[in-house]
């Protein structure tokens, strides 16, 4: 019984939140890694692209809610998601046409692209705040829980409760579907293959007749969809505030780099590595150990490695360690 209680406590406070957060980071990091692999620059505007997509989705959600349309137990935002994706893709393609294409034709150095994306980031930043404001927005509806802590306790008779939020469940399921679709697309379609070829060796790809503008077009479309989905899932699970999306940039880049920039599998693995380490390093183990250890060994302190204030420092530290010892990342991406 004690063992079960320990497992449930751990699942409730570490495993479930980390899996949900990890999925959100993985989807965000996938977008970053695709831009890096195919368009060859670090896109600092990614966090704010997510914020933009989420904003459009929220506006569409409110519109649906005012019309009385809902998905029952599922959040209405899922219905509004396609609107967000279309708007975000349009925004990204517009940005590419107006800004990035000019530098691509100049064959500008990657560092110039990075600076340009920084400028784009500030513009998107302002755009989102201008439309929806800098405050918290609530747009989640439908059932809040798949299993609530109270129900779980009543069901199992355990002392510890396990809560699984609907948003966490949706996050994981959506992430699995999206990743499966993405890999099928990259590995089995003509366009996907041409994208991979372009990523591996640009010159050879051009020689074999691949149209680079087409590859760029598809890349932005996929990135727009990924960013919007990641942003909406994060917003549903936590809350939407433009500033927190900007802050997400750090853990997302850390995920992409830890996994290996340019490697989609790496981005996913990296997302989970960062999420789990952020949560476990700052977790206080007292409760779990109290169930597991014999009475006389019970800890007095909190058994917390680091205060939760240092959460962001954890992703920084992992980033630095990986860059020092394995600059190409866990899955052999491109060197940074």
């Amino acid at each position: 019984m004690d063992l079960l209680n320990a497992i449930v406590a751990l699942a409730n406070f570490v495993i479930v939140p980390a899996i949900a957060y990890g999925s959100q980071l993985a989807l965000g990091a996938l977008g970053i890694t695709l831009v890096y692999g195919i368009l060859r620059f670090s896109n600092f505007a990614h966090g704010d692209t997510m914020a933009f997509g989420t904003m459009v989705t929220i506006l569409a959600t409110w519109w649906f809610q005012s019309l009385g349309i809902s998905l029952g137990v599922l959040p209405t935002a899922l219905l509004a998601l396609p609107f967000g994706i279309v708007a975000t893709v349009a925004l990204l393609l517009g940005t590419d046409r107006v800004v990035y294409r000019f530098y691509r034709r100049q064959k500008a150095a990657p560092v110039i692209f990075v600076m340009v994306s920084l400028g784009v980031m500030f513009i998107m930043n302002g755009l989102v705040r201008f439309v929806i404001g800098p405050d918290d927005q609530r747009f989640a509806d439908g059932a809040r829980f798949i299993v609530s802590a109270r129900e779980f306790k009543a069901m199992t008779g355990l002392r510890e409760g396990l809560a699984i939020k609907t948003s966490a469940g949706i996050t994981v399921i959506t992430a699995i579907i999206v990743v499966a679709l993405l890999f099928w697309f990259l590995n089995h379609t003509r366009t996907g293959k041409s994208m991979r070829a372009f990523s591996d060796n640009e010159d050879l790809a051009l020689l074999s007749g691949i149209n680079p503008e087409r590859v760029v077009l598809y890349t932005w479309m996929i990135v727009g969809a990924l960013a919007t989905i990641a942003g909406v899932l994060y917003g549903l699970d936590k809350s939407f505030k433009p500033f927190t999306y900007f802050q997400l940039l750090l853990p997302m880049f850390a995920s992409a780099i830890v996994g290996g920039l340019g490697s989609p599998v790496g981005a996913i693995a990296g997302g989970f590595v960062i999420a789990f380490s952020e949560v476990t390093v700052t977790y206080a183990w007292k409760k779990v150990l109290r169930y597991l250890l014999p009475e006389n060994l019970e800890p007095d302190g909190l058994v917390q490695l680091m205060s939760t204030d240092y959460k962001f420092a954890v992703s920084f530290a992992i980033l630095i360690i990986v860059l020092l010892f394995r600059p190409t990342g866990l899955f052999r991406g491109k060197a940074v």
Binding site: D237, S239, F240, T282, K286, K287
Partner: protein
């Protein structure tokens, strides 16, 4: 004219009745507030409040056998300790004041107290200095305040929780001076009374996700979670995450958390949670507004406290039978607290008469004054409980 005649007659009568009248018939009191500086918009009303009490006493002619009280204003600047000290020095040595209403801001109040009031042995009653540091300042029994110390809420919070039989709580606070000060004063008060704080951890405002913070709080455990934060900021995020993960289902909220937004965000989910914030329902406040009439804004911050500060000085003089600070400083606590006849604003004449007859009074005043510890207001708090998703009053304390 008629009033002046009446007052003169009363004065003459009282003077005649006084035994071996060696009292001077004019007592000067200093009012040292920041008439220039950051709180210059509040101080005119505060000074007017103090002067109203002085006028009431002068008009009554009952103080020390018919003495009149004359206010002398000086500028504390609120921020410049040097200027404030010089102004206070002038009040005492130049004008010969027998007591000081002030100062206003905590910093200059401390400076005047240690540099001027204590060396010269003059009583100071501040209507608005709230820093906990002033509770332990060296004052030779000369310093009082009619505003509560910021540390007081921590004590009140500890008492409320222990009264409900809750002796083990987790505490989380917003990472700034307000949050940390409140959490620390609460922890000290709670542990002193036999309670146990399992964890006292900070949270940052403006984050989207507080599950890691709540994980640590849940691991430490406790019967309730004390959230010393802001309802529009991280405080609500913490409560949300704690409810979602089932870590805590009842909470205790200090003033920063209690607002309409709390009901709106959580409704019945936090039923049974408790809290407190400054507030009073005393009839003194209403009475004060009434006697002020439209002369100035009676509800301006610290204005009723200023009236009470001036009234306390004069009542203590009457109780001691002398305007000498060394004699009346010991009477301030006596007239402010029970037992005795309760005194509301506008009843100062009655109070002076009772004291002259040797009876005891309990000055309630405009802010339900109750001086505790080293002579500071206990403050008044509204204790609340969440019932049916609504913030409801349990009682005032």
């Amino acid at each position: 004219m008629k009033r002046l005649l009446m007052a003169t007659a009363a004065t003459a009568l009282a003077a005649g009745a006084a035994s071996a009248g060696s009292h001077s018939n004019e007592i000067k009191l200093g009012i040292i507030l920041g008439f220039t500086g950051p709180i210059e918009s509040l101080t005119p009303q505060m000074a007017a409040g103090a002067e109203l009490a002085m006028k009431e006493v002068s008009d009554s002619g009952a103080l020390l056998g018919g003495a009149t009280v004359t206010p002398v204003r000086a500028d504390s600047t609120c921020i410049d300790a040097g200027a404030a000290t010089a102004a206070a020095e002038r009040l005492i040595t130049g004008d010969g004041v027998k007591g000081i209403v002030g100062a206003d801001c905590s910093g200059v109040t401390g400076a005047i107290l240690s540099n001027v009031a204590v060396p010269n042995g003059v009583v100071m009653i501040s209507p608005s200095a709230t820093s906990p540091a002033l509770s332990t300042a060296e004052d030779n029994g000369l310093f009082f305040r009619t505003a509560p110390s910021d540390a007081r809420q921590g004590v009140v919070m500890a008492e409320i929780l222990l009264e409900q039989g809750i002796d083990e709580v987790a505490v989380t606070y917003t990472n700034n001076d307000y949050g940390k000060g409140l959490a620390d004063s609460f922890q000290a008060a709670f542990e002193e009374r036999g309670g146990k704080v399992t964890i006292n951890a900070a949270h940052e405002d403006g984050k989207a996700d507080y599950s890691a913070e709540v994980g640590a709080l849940a691991a430490a455990g406790g019967q309730r979670l004390v959230v010393a934060g802001y309802v529009d900021q991280g405080g609500s995020g913490i409560v949300r995450a704690a409810l979602d993960s089932g870590a805590f289902d009842s909470f205790h909220f200090p003033d920063g958390m209690i607002s309409a937004a709390l009901e709106e965000n959580f409704g019945t989910e936090i039923d049974g949670s408790t809290g407190q914030h400054p507030g009073t329902d005393s009839e003194g406040a209403a009475k004060f507004t009434e006697i002020v009439g439209g002369a100035f804004d009676a509800s301006s911050p610290f204005t009723p406290e200023s009236y009470d500060a001036a009234a306390l000085i004069m009542l203590a003089m009457q109780a001691a039978g002398s305007s000498d600070p060394a004699a009346y400083k010991g009477k301030v606590m006596e007239v402010a607290n029970a037992p005795g006849e309760p005194i509301l604003p506008g009843e100062l004449a009655k109070a002076l008469k009772l004291l002259a007859e040797g009876k005891d009074i309990d000055y309630v005043g405009a802010t339900a004054v109750e001086l505790i510890g080293p002579g500071e207001s206990a403050g008044n708090y509204r204790q609340i409980v969440i019932e049916g998703g609504k913030v409801t009053t349990v009682k005032y304390r």
